[in-house]
């Protein structure tokens, strides 16, 4: 049983690392976008965060 868990954990960790690498790649792509677009996204993110906060108890 222990062996099976260990095997799965390895697979899960491999999958997690793949996700992290992919996220880093996305960050690099976003960083290269035009300044105009990045500012617009930044204010939009703030607006959405404020909206979501309304539902936090």
């Amino acid at each position: 049983m222990d062996n099976i868990i260990a095997k799965n954990q390895k697979e899960v960790e491999k999958y997690r690392q793949m996700i992290f690498r992919s996220k880093e790649e996305c960050r690099r792509i976003f960083a290269k976008e035009p300044f105009e677009k990045k500012i617009k996204t930044a204010f939009e993110l703030y607006r959405r965060a404020e909206y979501i906060k309304k539902f936090v108890r």
Binding site: A31, E36, I39, T41, A42
Partner: protein, 173 residues
Amino acid sequence: MEDKAVERVFKVINKMYQEGRLKDYAVGGAVATIYYTEPFATKDIDIFFIPPEKDKIILLTPFYDFLLKKGYKTYKEYIMIGEIPIQFIPTATELEKEAVEKAISIKYKNIEVKILRPEYLVAIFLEVFRPKDRDKLIKLFDQAKIDKALLRDVLARHNLDKKFDDFRERYYG
């Protein structure tokens, strides 16, 4: 948020600079960081400026008066240009003054905008060092092209090299 809202802010700032109402200025904080990194949430635009002096007295009011006469409203510590809160921050340290003087000019839809260099953003964030400044430091180190020689020089001259080494040890050690 309309693109035009940000465009309007930069047009107003640029006009004030051209007319000499803002002696020297540069965009700092999150918006300047975003120029070099991925976008992240921000609610305002920080404008660092070197305040004019008269008989060694620092004058903060002339351009506030100008903006208020133009009909812009204040909200808490902000001046609202359209729907965007603007925080005008008078340079208070030699580091901030130098950062503004060494700022680079960029274009936002053909409007010239002065923006702090990443090396000075790092130094200012290190000096202030709130949790949100640490986040911005990490983004800058991970994503911006930083002139390491310039950064070392700035940090050494403003006594921030120890703080920088501690930061590096903690987050990248």
